[in-house]
């Protein structure tokens, strides 16, 4: 039958395996289109830039000779199912040596099952949720710090403000990452003796926060902590303005450190707090880029937009593989996996060292938007620039 013949033809086409002449092949399935593409592109671009940079310096040393890195990147169209199938394809058809991860905890959670199934190490810089690392998997590593710790430095800062906020509203989306953040944040707030007066989970497809905002308005809320995605947080802030909700302090897990988020909000972004595990500062020294500032400049020059911690995290993943391969002296997946687990080096992203479960531990720096500029106010060493507190009412800005 025609159908069977066509499928056989397709089969033969698909069966052609590209012959790799002494290169180290990395594979990744990234959200280049679809609703996560806005952040997914940071990963695609950073992977490419870092690999090109390392190749320009000669490549990666495998045993005695240097080999170039190649990148096979597929677009998963922000569809988790497709992403899973693509990782299977990368391993079984394209026969890549190692895997780089996607953005988002939901994706990393599902895709890491594939790296575990085929025993190929995957380093991902896009998933921070606990669940990824609590299954006892050996082949998944992550360069985003634990979701449960995201608000840790923020809560510390809150205790040092004058007067410190007492009643807090905790709002979070229902995906893996944000649920993890909320779980951790509840513990942090309780330890700091702050009262959680509003604790609301919302659907990650939501665009209307009027009900939640009205609820917040009807209570004596001093601070609002939101764990969600950029598009939702954008809506949240805009709607807070139209409903005249202005707490003394509000902080968001994503968005604030990203330039186009601030641009989209314009002046309304002022006073908002966020956190980042990375800033393009010359203090982060790097073997390939010099330092983080130089990385940011090169990135901006090549792609036309500023990188943020997503990009730096992705770049770190590539560097981690290179370091691990050089330490192991071989491309054997099991040996490289062990080398990754023992890594401890400094990079443009900070100190790369994975804990026993495979997750990195990096302190978050609290940042605030002040007059349109992103200012670091509180870091691992304590107070930095002065935070503008409390936030004035909308009508008085």
């Amino acid at each position: 039958m025609i159908g069977t013949l066509l499928s056989l033809a397709a089969a033969l086409l698909l069966a052609t395996v590209p012959s790799s002449a002494a290169t180290v092949d990395l594979g990744a399935s990234v959200q280049l289109t679809g609703k996560d593409a806005n952040t997914g592109r940071y990963y695609g671009d950073a992977y490419q830039l870092t690999i090109d940079k390392i190749n320009a310096a000669g490549g990666v040393k495998v045993g005695k000779d240097k080999q170039k890195l190649t990148l096979k990147m597929l677009d998963n169209q922000s569809d988790v199912n497709l992403s899973v199938r693509q990782y299977v394809q990368l391993v079984t058809q394209d026969k890549v040596n190692f895997l780089l991860g996607p953005f988002s905890s939901n994706f990393a959670l599902a895709d890491s099952a594939i790296s575990e199934k085929y025993s190929i190490p995957m380093i991902q810089g896009g998933g921070a949720s606990d669940q990824i690392f609590s299954r006892g998997y050996k082949y998944i590593f992550g360069t985003l710090p634990a979701a449960t710790e995201y608000f840790s430095s923020t809560v510390d800062l809150m205790t040092k403000l004058n007067p410190p906020p007492k009643n807090v509203a905790l709002i979070f989306a229902d995906d893996a990452f944000d649920v993890s953040v909320a779980d951790g944040t509840r513990a942090l707030l309780n330890k700091a003796s702050m009262k959680i007066v509003v604790d609301q989970r919302y659907s990650d497809k939501a665009s209307d926060f009027n009900s939640i905002l009205s609820l917040i308005k009807s209570q004596p809320v001093d601070a609002i902590l939101v764990a969600g995605h950029e598009t939702e947080i954008l809506n949240f802030i805009r709607q807070a303005k139209t409903l005249n909700v202005s707490p003394k302090f509000y902080s968001f897990t994503v968005g604030v450190p990203t330039a186009d988020f601030r641009n989209a909000l314009g002046g309304d972004a002022d006073y908002a707090y966020g956190m980042t595990s990375w800033l393009p500062s010359p203090t982060f020294k790097d073997e390939y880029f010099g330092n983080a500032e130089q990385f940011a400049n090169e990135y901006k020059k090549r792609f036309g937009y500023d990188p943020d911690y997503h990009a730096a995290s992705a770049a770190a993943d590539v560097e981690a593989f290179v370091k691990a391969i050089e330490a192991a002296g071989t491309l054997d997946p099991a040996k490289v996996r062990d080398a990754i687990a023992k890594l401890d080096f400094d990079s443009l992203y900070g100190r790369i060292k994975f804990n026993a479960a495979g997750q990195i531990s990096l302190p978050q720096t609290v940042v605030q938007v002040q007059k349109g500029k992103l200012v670091a106010v509180y870091g691992p060493k304590g107070m930095m620039e002065k935070p503008l507190y409390p936030m004035p009412a909308w009508g008085q800005r």
């Binding site: 066509l6 033809a9 397709a10 698909l14 899973v84 669940q131 229902d174």
Partner: protein, 316 residues
């Protein structure tokens, strides 16, 4: 084609496909499993949409329930796969019988829209259920051995197709076709239309649920959005319609051909794959709304005028 020849060809095809894992590469096996599952879905839709004429957008609910049955059973209760599958089938059947009864009273496009609404409702409901992992979903225990999934899907497709072959020659099947062509007349002739419709819906639900269960275990991951995906339902419909609704082998053909083209695109030019599907739908509905089988049959007589005639018949 005479029945005997059809059966012989089918048997040969089945044997060939069954031995595929012996000589094909892992990626072919992977593609094959995916195509087989899609073929089952298309056939499942064929029963309620093709034969009975009730275009269902709710088959994805059965698919999702099958997947969740397996997921919840294996992850939350540590049951073996078979038990999870049984749970999935039970859920899908319950849904088909309880919800099918009122919804199947609706005619024409209202039925389609109601089932569309059902798919959205189920996504929303399941994303609030703790035991189903809410919106995050569930991760299945890992299992190696793609061959078992391949052979299982092949067996399922064979079972589904045999059932449809039986339907097409049975009184039940003629009843369904009568309902499709003129439900009022069928009822007057003494056919218990409600019973027949619900049975068709239930049959479709069983096969679709099993497919969903196998797929979930194979992919090791399930979340509400992917489980009850309306896009998947549209895919089922397009494959069944493209191949030939109301025929025994049509949907299989449609599924294999469209899958093959889609996979090639997805692995070579990933960004085109998403638009490919949309374009296929538009082109197919305009030029060959009665499917590939009808095209093949009539092309000999009418040649290129076939497309023109289709347009003329349906346009204003």
């Amino acid at each position: 084609m005479k029945l005997g020849i059809q059966l012989a060809l089918a048997a040969v095809g089945l044997a060939a496909l069954a031995t595929l894992p012996l000589w094909a590469s892992p990626v072919i096996i992977q593609f094959g499993t995916s195509a087989l599952i899609l073929a089952v879905l298309a056939q499942g839709w064929n029963i309620i949409g093709g034969y009975t004429g009730y275009s269902s957008f709710g088959n994805s609910v059965f698919y999702g329930l099958g997947g969740y049955g397996v997921a919840i059973g294996m992850v939350q209760f540590q049951w073996p796969f078979a038990a999870g599958l049984a749970l999935g089938i039970a859920l899908a059947l319950a849904f088909a019988l309880l919800i099918g009864l009122p919804v199947l009273r609706l005619r024409g496009h209202y039925f389609a829209i109601a089932t569309l609404g059902l798919a959205v409702v189920m996504t929303a409901i399941v994303s609030n259920i703790e035991i189903a992992g809410r919106n995050i979903g569930l991760i299945m225990p890992l299992v190696r051995g793609d061959t078992w999934f391949y052979e299982g899907s092949l067996a399922l497709l064979a079972a589904t197709t045999l059932t449809i072959a039986w339907i097409s020659r049975s009184r039940f099947g003629f009843g369904l076709i009568a309902i499709r062509e003129n439900e009022g007349a069928a009822s007057v002739m003494g056919i218990n239309t409600t019973l027949y419709k619900v049975l068709a819906f239930a049959l479709a639900s069983v096969f679709t649920a099993i497919a969903g269960g196998i797929h979930a275990y194979w992919i090791t991951f399930l979340d509400p959005e992917s489980a009850f995906d309306i896009g998947l339902n549209v895919k089922m419909i397009i494959m069944a319609v493209f191949g030939g609704p109301g025929t025994v082998f049509g949907p299989i053909l449609g599924a294999f051909v469209l899958s093959a083209i889609s996979e090639i695109l997805a692995s070579k030019l990933t960004s085109l794959a998403s638009i490919f599907f949309g374009i296929v739908i538009v082109v197919a509905v305009v030029f060959m709304p009665r499917g590939f089988a009808d095209l093949v049959r009539r092309f000999r007589q009418t040649r290129w005028r076939y497309f023109q005639e289709n347009i003329r018949a349906h346009s204003v």
